[in-house]
Symmetry: C2
Subunit: 343 residues, 2 copies
Amino acid sequence: MATLKDISAELGLSVATVSRALNGFPEVNKKTRDKVQQAADRLGYRPNRVAQRLVTGRSGMVGLIIKIKPDMSADQTFFEVITALTAGLAARDTELVLAVDQGTDPVAPYRRMIEKNILDGFILNEPEVNDARVAFLLEQKVPFILHGTDRDDPPYPFYRIDNQKVASDSIDLLARLGHKRIALINARLRHHFAHERLEGFLKAMDRHNLSSDLVKTENWLADDGYMSALELLAHASPPTAFVCASTPIAYGVMRAIRDKGLRVPEDVSVVAHDDAMPVPRAVTLDHALTVTRSPLRDACEPLAHMLMDHLNGKSVADLQVTLTADMIVRGSTGPAPKGGVLT
Amino acid sequence: MATLKDISAELGLSVATVSRALNGFPEVNKKTRDKVQQAADRLGYRPNRVAQRLVTGRSGMVGLIIKIKPDMSADQTFFEVITALTAGLAARDTELVLAVDQGTDPVAPYRRMIEKNILDGFILNEPEVNDARVAFLLEQKVPFILHGTDRDDPPYPFYRIDNQKVASDSIDLLARLGHKRIALINARLRHHFAHERLEGFLKAMDRHNLSSDLVKTENWLADDGYMSALELLAHASPPTAFVCASTPIAYGVMRAIRDKGLRVPEDVSVVAHDDAMPVPRAVTLDHALTVTRSPLRDACEPLAHMLMDHLNGKSVADLQVTLTADMIVRGSTGPAPKGGVLT
DNA sequence: AGGATTTTTCAAAACGTTTTAAATTTGTAT
DNA sequence: ATACAAATTTAAAACGTTTTGAAAAATCCT
């Protein structure tokens, strides 16, 4: 493998000049630069990343530690995330190193990687409230970027959506359609975003002078939505609309509604937040579901770039991005039923 | 971050001695070694991997390029594979760098990674016959290890199972049970292992003086097995036993058998090869299925170690491992029916 | 032409480690 | 003590880059 020295020997130039020529420094003569570039091409020169990294103090690798579910099942969106992430990082000449978190201590794999002393930073996702990993990385002063947040005024770089607005937009839409009894099936409160959604929900309901008594906290999947919806529909004054934390929950809710002999959207409206948008579901049922939408994969390239900017010393304040989710109105929402569902 | 120089300054020793002490060289005095170790602990010394790698010429990273299916769906066993692979590599102080192959040219992502000049080698899986990636890596003289093989006498390190034996063991079992009409539902012949299975099947059938006219080549999933089985069962002299390339195929086959009003194993026996053994399936249906078994994940740690051995110069001949799959007889196989299925 | 700039190139240091070859210390046998 | 071998330690080179500070070359101005 050709090195800078080879090129410099070939051309009778110093290594320093060759290095500068190839790295586009302005103070090198056009003629020289061309000669160097040509020689580099001819000799098939590829910079030795390891040497570069030794002198720059960077490893050129960032870590992603994936949490594996007990059943070892693959997350629907995992490949999408990986694809976008590696693409974004590659553009910044950085590799993604994967590690697996199987244990009970969420911090352990981070500690292991840090001790190996080989990563420039981490990408974290799915933060819990006051996330232990976040606390650890802050304490260790290891750079990272978070998809989402784990507290209200985070002192670290993040990329997230405005979850209060996700909730309040949904409420606003439903209220405009005349709904009075609106239920929230929220995610588990260990997720920080669930707190934000709840807050947005409560504020918006208040603003519309509606009662926020139909709130449930549930797991992520269809069965969870199904069970919750059944309970809520059994209420003396049942909801005419559901705001759901996830699309699977929404499908469960719709099944429950159907099972109760009711129709969507004539009798009951359903809104969900959709952060996944996996291909198969999109073509089958999604067309029917009104959602606030912010695909996970869209977050990945910005995440990669922001982490790199962070490593390059960009100030944290400039690396705190909050996006607004799109509101996509489809067939699962309609005007509130005239006399209430059960009349 | 403390360096060797810091320790050497602290103790008034040379950097070389400190390095040797920490790396367990025999020629360093016990007393010195202890002092050094102690100082290293006290200062929280961690070797700078990048510097190590510069001098050893290794990057300490190997690549795994994952092929993503058009629907972005996650492979059932992906996480198992990743988990075992990272564990095996970590034991050899090596990281797994992930890249994604989305394009049409299977070689492109490998070329990209090689040009980046950052990986010590690759782990390849799911080889096709005369795999283009294999040819490319051989030509580029980039070290790799293959899970499986792509040709008959491979000049590279591999870890595989004896696929001829997988087929012939299945036939032997069924022949012992008195089956005469045995069908093979093989995988697509672009997979090299499918050729090996076919060869094993033909030889074994020959050995038992049975006719090999019931052979189909199919995709991997339940529906494929279902369709093939229906066709085969419509034969004038239908099979009393099926040998299936995968467990999903086997489930499709069993469904077809049931739909024809036949029972497993009284009327028809089913054997499959199981390389996945995902948790959920194991508890539901697997107990019933007789299989030749060689879980994918069991291959991962050996793969990691063999690649590292390869990088360390171990001869290729010592890195060509062929295992025998286990034969696990369960409820889906039984004696051949007395007078044939249709009498 | 000669001094003052400006542009371009260079030698050397630095990054943190491993390893080679040589030097020093220690031990042993005369 | 002396010579010789063995055990231990050392200085220095090497890995391939970037970067600093200085030198050389080219250009400009009178």
